[in-house]
């Protein structure tokens, strides 16, 4: 399983692997927001936590359809299903690799991009913590959606429609943590709920995603 994570990582960083796609999208969204909203510093600071979270969520969504589709097309998924590793473990490994290549760069880039949005000083730590705890849920929920739509041609649209409603709780609590942190209120309560969503997704969704994959492999 570690081997699967390492393989996915090395595939991601090589030519055509899609590493940096989410990060570049995140960067573009956040850089363009001040142009769209205007240079008023107070307004930018007020929307900064929400914009950072929304940008991260959409950036995550962007690379989801590749998670299983490539392995499905070249037959790797069939072979992994016959291999002595549980399919649940395969799902967890691939979601983890997706988080490292997509979620982790977003967490690292968020404080830098916060400067562009005039994020209040108190908010930096909270934005990083909320993204660090929330993005694993985005990757895991996304893995479930990707597993459901893996056999479909042009499944990307259906994948987005399936996954976006499931992302809403994560977005609400994640952005709430960042907003409360930035305005000087304690963000502990929504942070606990966010952590709960992530842990629940990691505990339950590998099984659901593996069941969906088994059906799609038939």
């Amino acid at each position: 399983m570690i081997r699967l994570v390492l393989r996915d990582l090395s595939l991601a960083v090589r030519a055509g692997g899609g590493f940096g796609l989410g990060l570049a999208f995140f960067l573009i969204v956040v850089v363009l927001v001040p142009f769209a909203i205007g240079p008023e510093a107070a307004l930018l600071g007020a929307v900064a936590p929400g914009v950072l979270w929304l940008g991260a969520l959409l950036a995550c969504l962007l690379s989801l359809d590749r998670m299983f589709a490539l392995d499905f097309e070249d037959g790797t998924l069939d072979l992994l299903a016959c291999a002595p590793v549980p399919l649940e473990g395969v799902v967890a490994a691939k979601a983890f690799a997706h988080w490292i290549t997509t979620g982790l760069p977003l967490v690292a880039a968020a404080p830098v991009l916060g400067v562009l949005l005039n994020l209040p000083v108190a908010g930096y730590g909270w934005v990083v913590v909320s993204l660090a705890l929330g993005t694993p849920a985005l990757s895991m929920i996304g893995a479930f959606g990707a597993a459901l739509t893996v056999g479909l041609r042009r499944g990307g649209l259906l994948l987005s429609l399936l996954v976006l409603p499931l992302y809403v709780p994560t977005l609400i609590f994640g952005a709430e943590v960042a907003r409360r942190g930035a305005t000087g209120q304690g963000g502990e309560a929504p942070l606990l709920l966010l952590a709960g969503i992530s842990l629940g997704a990691m505990a339950l969704l590998p099984f659901a995603a593996a069941a969906a994959l088994r059906i799609n492999l038939r």
């Binding site: 393989r7 037959g75 069939d78 072979l79």
Partner: protein, 185 residues
């Protein structure tokens, strides 16, 4: 909808069984069922751990030949990949990106993957597609070695592999089409 019914056969150690039948007769369905990729509508498959090689080879073009085999060997908990590369004449290509291989070379890499799984029963779906005569002979040698070592193989093929194998004709197990036509009428 049932494709095949009443299928009964066994493959013992050291034996190769060849599945024959026209295109669309259910050879791939049967192999995927034996591999556990799809459940049988009725009945059961009893037996050893299998290694499956389907129409797609499961090869990543961005990885080298050696890295591809290394990955599958690790997944199956095996160590050695050099022997498989030599047996399939891939040693000279070991550091070449798999995406730059020809169709026949890719196929050889896909078949070499079987050798690094360490599984006793090989399920082969049209293994010789896009192989030239020399490569088919090479593959026949490897398969003979596998059988001699106590392995077994279930092969769907239209090509003579150059050794004695029991033939099972899939066409005799076809689910009765007439009954289904009646159901839809």
């Amino acid at each position: 909808m049932p494709v095949l019914s009443g299928v009964t056969f066994s493959v013992s150690a050291g034996e190769a069984v060849v599945l024959r039948g026209p295109n669309g007769s259910g050879k791939t369905t049967l192999l995927r069922t034996v591999a556990g990729l799809q459940p049988a509508l009725a009945g059961s498959v009893v037996g050893e751990d299998v290694a499956y090689a389907g129409h797609a080879d499961g090869i990543k073009g961005a990885l080298s030949v050696r890295e591809n085999l290394r990955f599958w060997a690790d997944v199956f908990g095996m160590r050695e990949v050099e022997g498989a590369m030599r047996a399939f004449d891939l040693w000279a290509l070991r550091d070449r990106a798999a995406g730059h291989l020809s169709a026949g070379q890719k196929r050889r890499l896909g078949l070499a993957r079987l050798a690094v799984t360490g599984r006793p029963l090989w399920l082969l779906d049209e293994p010789t597609v896009s192989l030239d005569a020399a490569s088919v002979a090479l593959f026949g040698d490897v398969l003979r070695g596998h059988l001699a070592g106590g392995g077994a193989a279930l092969i769907a093929t239209h090509v003579e592999l150059g050794f004695e194998a029991r033939v099972v004709d899939v066409a005799q197990f076809r689910a009765v089409a007439g009954a289904l036509d009646g159901a839809w009428a």
